[in-house]
């Protein structure tokens, strides 16, 4: 098992493929660079295969790399991307699950073995570039679809593929698969040409909050529901009907009768009703919070949900800036006193922090819903398809928390003068210390895979790390909302901020 596992992990298959690959055959043009890291039972493999020889254009077309048969690992991206330098990245964190590991030995491996991620990136990508856009957004970055495409969705893109590929069955490896990177989709949609849309903010005015409805009443079963129920049923039904699948048909919806009377359909009915309530409750909670947030924000432009959030965002940035400024001021004044305030700072950092700290226990070993895990992948891109960036690709940053104080970082970006130094500085300023680094470049791209540890007891959150690195690697120019938020954050200075908080405590 282990062996197989490792085989897969190590990409023997891949390598094999590579070895046989035309690139290789070209004689020396092929260049494999791989970094293998393990953390406990988890193994991460980053592989870059590139044609080192620039002269060899033939190679430039790219190749898909495959994974070995084992069911393996989905290739990251085969598409067009790899053109120039052809670069392929494979990352496969492997987790053996099982939970905590009991340890000793390998036994556990059996069950686990989920292959985690696999990523490939290509340099240029033509076709894809656009695809790049945003995927992240939604997904939070994640992983989503990455590879494939994208987008969306959440989940399946990855599994399915594998299934297909493998043929089947339970693949041992599937889990993480998705991460992949990049960019997903793009999609289409621009379709919407929204050009028109721009309107957004007209300052309208506040709609009446109707919160009432939900606002507070407590209990879930709010009345409202009912009334629509009837109607809704109607539409719902229809749709269902269409669906035709077994489910729907059940009722033979024919008349409008509601489905209600059909207990039989448990999933259909009962589940449905439960879900219905749950959903209502959830919605209510969400609304409540949204309004609560709105209540906190002084300046509200519109009552519209998006605006509420937007205002809140701005407000938070504002507050952060204020805090920082105040802090600075205070420090300055205090400085007069004498003495190393550095120390103060340090100490404050160490002290408990009230809020800031991040919990994240770590990682990817347990997926409990807490969710913290594998952290983030991000690519920054804006959606602008047009992308003014010219050819430069958006940096890809992935931060994964291995343990409370350890992170894995992956940064893929265009080579820029002083870029590495900036990266190191950023890492350092985040209170992180690099324990392992693998830097690989091909053409204008540079891939940095790092393992970092928290230096002091400072608390650093994966997201923050990611954001900072993203900012650093990216050109300040194109900013997105989030980018802006991030930038703001950075300007504020994370540490500073931390410090402030501490002080408060």
């Amino acid at each position: 098992m282990v062996a197989q596992c490792m085989e897969a992990i190590c990409g023997v298959g891949i390598v094999k493929g590579i070895m046989n690959h035309p690139y290789n055959s070209l004689g020396g043009g092929a260049n494999l660079v791989a970094a293998v890291y393990s953390h406990g039972a988890f193994v991460l493999v980053y592989t870059v295969f590139s044609a080192t020889d620039h002269k060899r254009s033939a190679c430039d077309s790219h190749v898909p790399v495959c994974t070995n048969g084992r069911g393996g690992v989905p290739p990251l991206r085969a598409e067009g991307g790899c053109r120039e330098g052809f670069e392929l990245l494979q990352e496969q964190p492997l987790r053996i699950d099982g939970g905590g590991f009991p340890a000793v030995t390998a036994p556990k491996m059996t069950e686990g073995l989920h292959t985690a991620e696999f990523m490939v990136s290509q340099c240029t990508s033509n076709s894809y570039e656009r695809s790049i856009d945003m995927p992240m957004a939604e997904n939070g970055g994640y992983p989503s679809g990455g590879g494939g495409g994208g987008g969306g969705d959440d989940s399946q893109p990855w599994l399915a593929p594998q299934l297909l590929a493998a043929g089947a069955q339970a693949l041992p490896w599937d889990l993480y698969a998705s991460q992949s990177n990049l960019f997903d989709r793009t999609m289409d949609d621009d379709i919407l040409h929204d050009g028109s849309t721009r309107t957004f903010f007209h300052s309208g005015n506040p709609p009446p909050p109707q919160s009432e409805s939900m606002v507070d009443d407590g209990i879930p079963e709010d009345a409202p529901a009912y009334h629509n129920f009837g109607e809704m049923a109607g539409h719902c039904r229809e749709s269902l009907k269409m669906e035709g699948s077994a489910r729907t048909e059940s009722g033979s919806e024919g008349s409008d009768d509601d489905e209600e009377h059909r207990p039989a359909r448990r999933s259909g009915k009962q589940h449905c009703s439960k879900n219905l309530f749950a959903e209502r409750k959830r919605r209510k909670k969400l609304n409540d919070r949204l309004f609560a947030l709105r209540a906190l924000v002084p300046k509200i432009t519109k009552m519209d949900r998006a605006s509420i959030l937007g205002d809140a965002i701005e407000y938070v940035m504002d507050l952060q800036k204020q805090v920082k400024d105040l802090q600075d001021e205070l420090e300055e004044t205090n400085q007069a006193d004498g003495g190393g305030h550095d120390k103060q700072i340090g100490s404050s950092l160490h002290s408990s922090n009230s809020q800031m700290d991040v919990p994240i226990p770590n990682g990817w070993m347990d997926h409990d819903d807490s969710g913290n895990n594998p952290r983030t992948i991000a690519a920054a891109d804006d959606n602008k398809p047009s992308s003014d960036k010219g050819q430069q690709m958006e940096p890809q940053v992935e931060v994964r928390q291995l343990e409370a104080n350890e992170f894995f970082l992956k940064v893929l970006c265009e080579h820029k003068q002083g870029g590495f130094t900036r990266l190191m500085e950023a890492i350092s300023s985040l209170g992180l210390e690099v324990t392992n680094a693998s830097v690989t470049s091909y053409g204008s791209l540079v891939l940095n895979v790092l393992r970092v540890e928290r230096r002091d007891d400072e608390v650093v959150e994966a997201d923050r790390v990611r954001d900072s690195l993203l900012e650093v690697t990216r050109h300040p120019q194109g900013r997105s909302e989030l980018a802006r938020a991030v930038e703001h954050q950075q300007q504020l200075g994370f540490h500073h901020h931390l410090r402030c908080l501490h002080r408060q405590a």
Copy 2:
């Protein structure tokens, strides 16, 4: 052959050993770090296996390092070095000879199979390692094998795959096949729907920032994506289908054109589709903002939407309180002092938004807010084993010339502040450019493995390179200005710096 070769190269055996190794069994204590480089037929593998978990003292004892049978290469350091943290280094430059291949370049392959070095250390004992022998030979890369697969792939990875998927699969590894599937699949899916956010890996994590629309900027464009017909099906399959088709195929609409020519249905269809996109867009915008908000909040308990909002609310309250406190504090101090800056602050504060004080909302008390329990971070223990090693080791520098303009460098030395930077500077000053770097540290030791290329036409000899590096690593004290500046910068805090810059601007 190839496979075996790679197996050996990749250290499957070793890895396997590791997997079974006590360290591993200890649960997470084991840490493998490997860097694999290939240059033509030459493959170099550096592996470091160390116990990452400091807490686990059991591991600390260390291990002997051994070399494999093959004639072995002397272990990098078996000596004392590995003591504390147990360090294992494996280096295997592998050469495959086999003859040459046609290849184009293939520079060095000629000779045969010299296995170069191989070091293994194991913690414990056993050994498996040896099995590894290196058969590697061959291939240098050549072509063929993949032939069918490989080559072809390049181009068509996309098309073909499908075919493969469907039936066939010939290749043992089918890489391609799988790959293709992936893609296909993905495409379908992903593309189709836009994203959803959730996905990540399963564990959830922060979503990536995605950018896009930000607060103010204009509109996002979002791209919604196509829906996928296939799967989504859920309810409205039909409707989707239609839409999908329309959109997707847009061109073809001809036949079905449904909506268009159906004015009648306007509300039904056309309106519907428009609304549909609008809705998607809206959702996306909302999500984006939500994530942007989350990005600003340091402490996030869960990734769940409600939690994001909840955390944001708390954070805002926190910030408000901080601001207030700081203001008070500042005032106090200023009073004593009489300083002027306070004004600045005040003004700034007011200007930005006047409302610091916020009424606490009350609103959001939902019963269930669960979520926020701050978790404690384990972290604390930071006892680095290192540091006090009294005796510093002499740096080891190895320079190997791969080609006229390429070198492989290996530098093993004690970790020193700014050491890496100095090394980089030295390399740079020698007219060399780093194309690949792998830096690994454990305890106080740092191993740098670099591939460098001559930048200009400068001529550099290996000896000179070695000497320079030796010099640099040996005498820390002589630091360049830049190094010093950098270090200083780091100490200051990168962000701070950034901030300053921004300010200037």
